[in-house]
Each structure stands twice: as structure tokens, then as C-alpha cells.
């Protein structure tokens, strides 16, 4: 009897004090949806919404990876440049035509992309942990390296898929749908589900949170801190590669501007979603919601005449700052 009342009051209290931050991004998204509907009646149309979701895929997928890095107390600024690099390598490989048949070629190219992404992440992780260098500096460095490598591979121009039939075979991965749901949306869902499972239900996820919360406590508890840290960067690299798999069929090319400012958007999505930038708290679904918010804001700007759409970057920059202010004030209220 007393037990159940205790449980009930505990549940009520947890509703009262933790959920504000977790709920905030979803409230913001709902608010934006209402605003969008007011601005333009076409906004809430199924086509437009599916379109917005589809376009949020790159950032949403990358940001799921960034949630791991950031909740472990790290940071990865190289994701945008890494995307361009992985896309470039993948297209160059497909252009060699070394494998017969479109499907086998695509499969191998995809595996290669994921492998390259994982290796890029591994490099970030190993340099950060073994070299004991601030992740900010390491990934700033690799950002420059990945970007320059892409431009080098493209010889200053862009890298386009040459074979038209292969391009046609790959197209559905971005433009196709399953039971009316565009493939990219399904990919977001799959990546977020796997991410949520890893972060919330496995020992690895628990270790990520512990390392981000307090590295010393994690070490004194026998957690292999460096391995956990490094793995978060590898996950980030794999997520970048998955985003690239969806990105390449869209344009069929990697250009010097591929992935430009994606790191800003990914980190913004993570922060809007309620993950603590200092580590120790990770919210996968909040992150996905954050990525949607960014895309919805852009969409509303295009559909309305409030602000020039050339200012989208400025608006997104402002959003990350506002999100931090809101997070701060919600913490204070606790």
C-alpha cells in the first residue's frame, strides 16, 4: 500500500522535473507546425510534409551519430567534410566499373562507403583518445583534411556518377518509397531505432553516458573509457556514411560544397533535442526532432515571405543559440 503510493508520487515527481527538457523540442516542433499552417495552407499537405521529412534525412541520420559523440562528452566538427569525402570515394569506386551488374556494384559500393566512414570516425577517435587532444581541435583538423582530399580527388571540380544505368538503379534509394513512405524516412527511422536501442538498452550505451557524465568515475568503475570514446566516433562515421548512401542518388555527384555546414546543423539538431553539450545526457528522439525542426524552419522560410531564404544559415545559427538559452533556463527552473 505505502509502496504503491510511493511509486506513484515518484512517477509524478519525475514527470515534474525531468520531462520538461525532453518534451521541449516536441512542443517547439508542434508550435512550428501550427505556424507553418498559418503561413501557408499547403504546408500541412501530406506531400509537403513527406518532402520536409525526406530532406531532413541527411542531418537527422548524421545527428543520431553526433548524439553518441556528444553525450560521451566529445564533439565532431568533421562530419560535413567527411560526408563529401565518403561520397567522393564511393562515386569514384562506382565509376571504375570493376564489378559486373548493377546490384552487386551498388552493394559493394555501399559497403565501401560504410567502411570508409567507419575508418574516418576511427581516425577521429584514436587521435582524440590516444593523442589526448581536445576533440574540437582534432576534428577541426580532420575537417580540413577530408575537405581538401575531396577537392583533390575531384581535381577541383565535382565527382559525378558516370554510368547512367547505374544511376537509374540507385535513384530509388532517395526518390523511391515503400508503402507510400519515402525510403529516406524509413532510413531515419531505422537509424534512430538502432541508435535508441544502443544508447538506452545496452551496456555500451550506459558506458557512453557514464563517460560523458564523469570520465574519472567511469575509469574508476573499470570502464574502458578510451574504447568507449573511440567507438562513439566510429558510430558517427558509420552514420555519416549511411547519410551519404541516401545523399548520392539525389544528385549523383559529390561537389566541393557537399556537406557544407552539415556539422553546424547536426550539432544544432542534437542540442535542440535536449542532449547536454557537456555530456552525460543523450536523447536520440529529441535529436531526430531537432533535425526536423531545422528543416521545417527552412521550409516555412521558403513558403513564406518573412525572411529571405538566403538567410537560412543565419536562422539556424540563431536557433542553436536560442536552444541553449532555453535549455539553460529549464535547468535553472528545476
Amino acid at each position: 500500500m505505502t509502496d504503491t503510493t510511493a511509486n506513484k508520487s515518484a512517477a509524478r515527481r519525475s514527470l515534474g522535473d525531468i520531462d520538461l527538457r525532453a518534451v521541449a523540442p516536441f512542443v517547439a516542433l508542434a508550435f512550428l507546425l501550427v505556424l507553418g499552417a498559418l503561413v501557408n495552407p499547403n504546408f500541412l499537405g501530406v506531400d509537403n510534409l513527406l518532402n520536409v521529412l525526406t530532406r531532413s534525412a541527411f542531418i537527422a541520420i548524421i545527428a543520431v551519430g553526433a548524439t553518441f559523440v556528444i553525450s560521451a562528452g566529445g564533439l565532431d566538427l568533421s562530419v560535413g567534410a567527411m560526408s563529401a569525402f565518403v561520397a567522393g570515394v564511393m562515386i569514384l569506386f562506382m565509376n571504375t566499373g570493376v564489378i559486373e551488374g548493377q546490384i552487386p556494384m551498388l552493394m559493394v559500393a555501399m559497403l565501401l562507403a560504410v567502411g570508409v566512414g567507419a575508418l574516418c570516425g576511427l581516425a577521429n577517435g584514436v587521435i582524440t583518445t590516444a593523442g589526448r587532444i581536445e576533440p574540437f581541435i582534432v576534428t577541426l583538423g580532420t575537417m580540413g583534411i577530408f575537405r581538401a582530399l575531396t577537392i583533390y580527388l575531384a581535381e577541383g571540380g565535382s565527382i559525378a556518377m558516370k554510368a547512367p544505368d547505374l544511376r537509374a538503379a540507385y535513384r530509388p534509394v532517395y526518390f523511391g518509397n515503400l508503402f507510400g513512405v519515402p525510403i529516406p524516412i524509413l532510413v531515419i527511422l531505422a537509424v534512430a531505432l538502432i541508435g535508441a536501442f544502443l544508447l538506452y538498452r545496452t551496456a555500451f550505451g550506459r558506458h557512453v553516458i557514464a563517460v560523458g557524465s564523469n570520465e574519472d568515475v567511469a575509469r574508476y568503475s573499470g570502464i574502458p573509457v578510451n574504447r568507449v570514446r573511440t567507438l562513439t566516433y566510429v558510430i558517427q562515421g558509420v552514420c555519416v556514411a549511411i547519410a551519404v548512401l541516401v545523399y548520392v542518388p539525389r544528385l549523383g555527384a559529390a561537389t566541393p560544397t557537399t556537406g557544407l555546414l552539415w556539422e553546424l546543423q547536426a550539432i544544432t539538431a542534437v542540442v535542440i533535442g535536449g542532449t547536454a553539450l557537456k555530456g552525460g545526457v543523450g536523447r536520440i528522439w529529441g535529436t531526430v526532432c531537432g533535425a526536423l525542426i531545422l528543416e521545417v524552419v527552412g521550409n516555412i522560410m521558403v513558403l513564406s515571405n518573412f525572411v529571405s531564404e538566403y538567410l537560412i544559415g543565419a536562422v539556424q545559427g540563431a536557433i542553436i543559440i536560442i536552444a541553449m538559452l532555453v535549455q539553460r533556463s529549464l535547468v535553472r527552473r528545476r
Partner: protein, 510 residues
């Protein structure tokens, strides 16, 4: 204490404080007179820190009011309280480690000369402020290079720099040595002589006896009594705090008769901290490591378990082993409980369950998944077995009192089912009631055949619970005391390296 008929300096009238539905302080009436040292004692969780935070403006009371000179006031925050002459000396060190002593003391209230800061004046002021505390610290030195005790004193110097009428000390001596404590107590008497009121919170009852004019006892958020300190012996205070008799703090023990060694360490070097240290730990033995703060005890044992790089031979049950990381020693059945509970022991911002299972997460996996039901069951078990007092299971570890955090840390490490348990400062900052429980627990560990190493700066404690004591000084194990020789005098001689006559004087002084 003089009753002048004037209203008290600071008065709490019917103060209550609730967090949500839980009342942590109820109807507290307290009056601080000018020129008195008023001690507040109570077990952890009794509400001392909450009361202090209310008096210093960090928290607002739910009910009741504060009066200064008889006039009711509402304090907007700690800065407001400081303007009214109420300063709080925190227990935690809140200094910028990369700034100098003088820069820290004047942080936020720098002396200016035109556009720039007047370093010369600040260094001079800081030197005086530090000297007034009876210590000798160069104001130009960076705080990060000072010992914890010196930092604590710098913090006190900083607090006393503002004009003050009421000074609140929150366990200021927790990390101080005997001489340093002595110096601080003199400072407090000085403040009192100048007509200010001192509110003194401490677990060290002999200290309270030494300097307090009046003593207020809190228990479970209620004020039990306020009495003149005269005629109130430490043992009476303890009884009032706990609400029952605590004559026997240390459990009875028969030293182990085992001849086998559980752990043998030979020629252990921890660069910069310990040199050629050798010792042996018997099965079922409680071995104490005594010495001054900074003697290298913590670092030596961290080196042994693989938390620091170290060189030397380690044998476990007679077999040579080599621990590269702490995971290796954990797997071999050795756990180390850090003295720094908040910084290295527990994730303060995470809940109790996550903390409990963190080191032994492998036991809670079903396939890849964490078995949350099993985890919840383990938490229920730990709360019952270790008597962890928490108002809810959803609390964060940082919301527990110090004693309950220690119990949670114990529970966490015991999940690993260790053969050898190393506990560093097992009862630092913990009240008497909980201390007794922890001592009993340590004795039970040894009785069940486990071997225990206790590192402690409290000599009473090592003498009370250990079978044998090793004393360290400057990184060396300088001696061993057993049986009859386990006295404070013997340990002080070994720990300080001074002759027994000087030591006797120090002891008499303490």
C-alpha cells in the same frame, strides 16, 4: 555569551523548508548573538546544510522568516546576504586553480588602478589576509599548486575579506591536519572577539567542545535542543545527534589468525608519489594506512590496482600478477573505493540504479540488453542491505547525503564480489551514526574472509578498526604498528618524523 537585551544579530523564526512534498527542515528557531560561536551538529541528512543555505541566502525558506537585528528580511541571494554581512565558507573548494592566491582572494572584487588591476596592492592585501590566518602562503603562487588544506585556508581568507557580522563555516576542518585545524580554531576565536557571530558546522565533536559557546542539535530536520556548550561532553553531543547511545563506535574484533597472504606488494614505485613500497596483506585482515595528507597512501594503492602507472611486484594469493588497468585488478577480485566520492566514485547527475550497477554491468545483461528489472531488484536489495536512506529511488546520486553516497559506493563495489577491498577515507565527511554502520560493515567483510585495506587520516579510526597499521611519510612506508603500539603518539612520530618529545608536544597541543 552575553545577553544584552538587544535583538540577536541573525535570527531564524519558525523556518521550514520543503522540497516537493518532503519537508527537510521543520520549524527551526535559532538566534545568533554577537560574539558567540554557535555550533550546529547533526547527522548527515539532519538538515544542517539546508539550514545553512537558508541563512546564507542560497535557498529561500518555505515558511518562517529571517530577522537581522530584529528586522525581518528577505534575502535575494548569497550576494545580498554578503552585503548584509553574512558570509558562508563552503566545504567544497571553490577557487580557480589557474589563478594565483591573490587573484583568487580578490576575484570579482579586484583592486583597480585606473583601467588596470593593482596587483601590488592585491598581493599585499592577500599576504596580510593569509597571515592573519596564521599560515605562510606566497600570494603569487598558483592555487593549483597548493595542497587541499592550503586551498581551504585561502578560501577562508577570501570569505573573511568582506565586512562580516556573521560567518558560517561548513565543516572547515574536514581536510585539515591537526596544526592547521588549530590555526583555524584560533582564527575563529579571533572573529568572535571582534564581535561577529560564528556559526560552526562540524562532525568533529571535540573541536565543537573546544570552541563553541552554544550547541544546537538537529535531527531529521527538527531542532532537538540548543544548549550552552559548557558541561556538554562530545559523547553527550553524539547521543543527542543520534538519539541513542553511541558509546561503542568501533566493533569488537579478533585479529585474523590466518597465515596466508592475500596480497603481497614488493618494491612498488609510483613515480612522484611512492618509492620502493612493500607490504603484505593477510587473508581476513584489516590493514590500515596512516600518515599525513599527501604522504602518498592513495597514490600507492592506486598504483597497485592499475589506476596509475607504477612499477613493482604484486602477488595475489602467492601468484605474481600484473595489473595494467583497473579492469584487470577488478577481475582479479580487488576493488578500490576512492576518497573522492563525488569526483571519482559516483555519477552525481545520474540516478541510483545507474550508479549501483556501473562497475558490474556485465551481471545485468541478458544478451545485449540491460535487464532493468534485475537492476531495479538489485537497487532494492542494496537499499535494504546497506541501509541507504533515500526519499525516492528515482533520486540522483548527487541528491543523497554524504553518508548515503558512501553506502551507495560500497554497494556498487560489493556487486563485484571482491576478495580484497581497499577503502580510502571511508568516513570522511560522514556523521557518527553512519560511521558506526560503515565500521561494522568493514568488520563483517573481514570476518567473512575478505581482506580489507583502510586508508585514513583519522588516527582514531585506523586505531579503532584495523588489526595492523602501516604509516607512510613522503612516499615511503616508514613503519608498522600493531597491538599495544597502536596509539596516536606512535603514529604521529612515524607520520611526521619528529622526535617523540616534539610529538608529545604536538599531541598535547591538539
Amino acid at each position: 555569551m552575553v545577553t544584552t537585551g538587544k535583538p540577536p544579530l541573525l535570527e531564524a523564526a519558525g523556518i521550514s523548508k520543503s522540497f516537493g512534498p518532503v519537508e527537510v527542515l521543520g520549524d527551526i528557531n535559532l538566534a545568533l548573538e554577537p560574539g558567540e560561536v554557535h555550533a550546529i551538529i547533526g547527522e548527515n541528512g539532519a538538515g544542517k546544510s539546508t539550514l545553512m543555505k537558508i541563512l546564507a541566502g542560497h535557498l529561500a525558506p518555505t515558511k518562517g522568516e529571517l530577522k537581522i537585528d530584529g528586522t525581518p528580511v528577505v534575502m535575494a541571494g548569497p550576494v545580498d546576504a554578503e552585503h548584509r554581512g553574512i558570509v558562508l565558507v563552503h566545504q567544497e573548494i571553490l577557487l580557480a586553480p589557474d589563478l594565483t592566491v591573490a587573484q583568487n582572494i580578490y576575484l570579482g572584487r579586484e583592486i583597480r588602478k585606473g583601467l588596470s588591476v593593482d596587483d601590488k596592492a592585491m598581493n599585499k592585501g592577500a599576504a596580510e589576509a593569509v597571515r592573519a590566518l596564521g599560515i605562510d602562503i606566497d600570494p603569487n603562487i598558483v592555487v593549483g599548486r597548493l595542497s587541499i588544506a592550503q586551498r581551504q585556508l585561502v578560501q577562508i581568507a577570501r570569505a573573511l575579506l568582506v565586512p562580516h557580522r556573521v560567518v558560517i563555516f561548513d565543516e572547515p576542518t574536514a581536510s585539515l591536519t591537526l596544526t592547521e585545524t588549530d590555526a583555524l580554531l584560533r582564527v575563529i576565536l579571533d572573529i568572535k572577539k571582534k564581535g561577529a557571530a560564528v556559526l560552526y558546522i562540524s562532525h568533529r565533536l571535540p573541536e565543537v567542545k573546544e570552541i563553541a559557546d552554544r550547541v544546537t542539535v538537529l535531527r531529521d530536520g527538527k531542532l532537538i535542543t540548543t544548549r550552552p556548550a559548557e558541561g556538554l561532553e562530545p559523547v553527550d553531543m553524539a547521543r543527542l545527534m543520534v538519539g541513542r547511545d553511541v558509546a561503542k563506535l568501533y566493533p569488537d574484533r579478533v585479529a585474523t589468525q590466518a597465515v596466508d597472504y592475500a596480497l603481497e606488494v614488493e618494491g612498488m614505485d609510483v613515480p612522484g608519489y611512492a618509492h620502493k613500497a612493500s607490504f603484505r596483506l593477510k587473508q581476513g585482515e584489516i590493514l590500515g594506512f596512516a600518515g599525513l595528507v599527501g604522504a602518498g597512501r592513495t597514490e600507492l594503492l592506486e598504483g597497485v590496482v592499475g589506476l596509475r602507472s607504477a612499477h613493482g611486484k604484486v602477488k595475489l594469493n602467492g601468484k605474481p600478477v600484473h595489473f595494467v588497468t583497473v579492469r584487470d585488478s577488478m577481475r582479479a577480485g580487488i576493488v578500490y573505493l576512492s576518497e573522492d566520492r563525488k569526483g571519482k566514485g559516483l555519477l552525481l547527475a545520474q540516478n541510483l540504479g545507474i550508479n549501483l550497477t556501473l562497475a558490474a554491468l556485465g551481471q545485468f545483461l541478458r544478451g545485449m540488453l540491460i535487464d532493468r528489472r534485475k537492476e531495479a531488484k538489485a537497487l532494492d536489495g542494496a537499499i535494504a542491505e546497506f541501509d541507504i536512506r533515500t526519499r525516492s529511488k528515482d533520486l540522483l546520486a548527487g541528491q543523497l547525503s554524504g553518508g548515503n553516497q558512501q553506502k551507495l559506493l560500497l554497494a556498487k563495489m560489493m556487486l563485484l564480489d571482491p576478495k580484497i577491498v581497499i577503502i580510502d577515507e571511508p568516513t570522511r565527511g560522514i556523521d557518527i551514526g553512519t560511521k558506526e554502520q560503515i565500521y561494522k560493515f568493514i568488520a563483517e567483510l573481514a570476518e567473512s574472509g575478505k581482506s580489507v585495506i583502510v586508508i585514513s587520516s583519522e588516527m582514531q579510526e585506523v586505531i579503532g578498526i584495523c588489526d595492523r597499521i602501516l604509516v607512510m611519510r613522503n612516499g615511503h612506508i616508514v613503519g608498522e604498528v600493531t597491538g599495544e603500539h597502536m596509539t596516536e603518539d606512535e603514529i604521529v612520530v612515524l607520520a611526521t618524523g619528529v622526535t617523540s618529545r616534539e610529538a608529545a608536544m604536538t599531541a598535547a597541543h591538539a
